[in-house]
Amino acid sequence: MAPIAVGDVLPDGTLSCFDAEDKLQQVSVHSLAAGKKVIIFGVPGAFTPTCSLKHVPGYIEKAAELKSKGVDEIICISVNDPFVMKAWAKTYPENKDVKFLADGSANYTHALGLELDLSEKGLGTRSRRFALLVEDLKVKAANVESGGEFTVSSADDILKAL
């Protein structure tokens, strides 16, 4: 699958998470994004450094600013199971806006064409680091890192696209 690009329609897919009542839920991406302005950012792995110490905190800090610019949802996805995503989300008790959704089987990451083989680091198939700005299912910005960098996918970078 070719990597998702500006002008594409965001594919639908199913992600999972634990809801406020701690029940496991499957969520359709389109149900979250249709008719709305959303940011989806992907990380290679829960509990790994750049993801945990820079990428996620950036979006938590800028959430209010992003929302003031009309962003309805800020979604973090990773190829991890929902139990791990829940535990990782709990390490950010100050977070109110960023939703942590699990793409355990990497199916959605594959649909976006953003998968990355990190087997030699003991991670298996994961997601590239990326950030998408999507308005009513149309991709307006697609910032995908080419390797392990963190230069185009941060909250500051996506703020520039708004």
């Binding site: 829960a46 139990f83 791990v84 355990g104 298996g124």
Partner: protein, 201 residues
């Protein structure tokens, strides 16, 4: 190939899949693990990844630990579970071994090992959360190859976990399985806890 087939036939693991050896050109032989199985022969090319932080991964060049280094010449109690951060695993299975660690040491056990189909960074964060790293060694079987070699893999896609493992425990001396306990369902916790295996050592 012939020598491998002979080894399979003489091993007391009678459920070994001779057909797969005859058909496939692969050197990997899958044998259902049982008492008497030699774990190192059943999983000759397999490695596990010790639970670690990313920095430790980088500085060790993402090194892995071959199965033979874990088991050869050592007395090991190993237990496997479906997933880090999940219910029974976190609340019952790991605590059962953590609180009995002195009893295991008193019986001459070199290592008590917990393994799951998770990456080593998640295993590390989970082990820290459970404050169990001093007692138990945590390893990740990130691609499931260790469990697959022992036919202990289980598809838990229905629970949104994907390919994982059974819940099980084993007492292994110099690579030979002396005791093996596998739950009927991964959500059970009847035979794979510390108390059961302590009786079997």
């Amino acid at each position: 190939m012939a020598s491998t087939i002979l080894k399979r036939a003489t091993s007391s693991s009678m459920k070994s899949r001779v057909e797969s050896l005859l058909i496939g050109a692969s050197r990997r032989s899958y044998a259902s693990v049982a008492v008497g199985t030699d774990i190192v022969s059943a999983a000759p090319d397999v490695s596990l990844q010790k639970a670690r932080s990313w920095d430790e991964g980088v500085s060790s060049n993402f090194s892995t630990t071959p199965v033979k280094d874990i088991f050869k010449g050592r007395k090991v109690v190993i237990f496997g579970l479906p997933g880090a951060y999940t219910g029974v695993c976190s609340q019952q299975h790991v605590p059962s071994y953590k609180k009995s660690i002195d009893k295991f040491k008193a019986k001459g056990i070199d290592s008590v090992i917990c393994v799951a189909v998770n990456d080593p960074y998640v295993m590390n964060a989970w082990a820290d959360k459970l404050k169990a790293k001093d007692a138990i060694e945590f390893y990740g079987d990130f691609d499931g190859s260790f469990h697959k070699s022992l036919e202990l893999g289980k598809d838990l896609s229905a629970a949104l976990l994907g390919p994982r493992s059974e819940r099980w425990s084993a007492y292994v001396v110099d690579g030979k399985v002396k005791a093996l306990n596998v739950e009927k369902a991964p959500s059970d916790f009847r035979v794979s806890g510390a108390e059961v295996i302590l009786e079997q050592i």
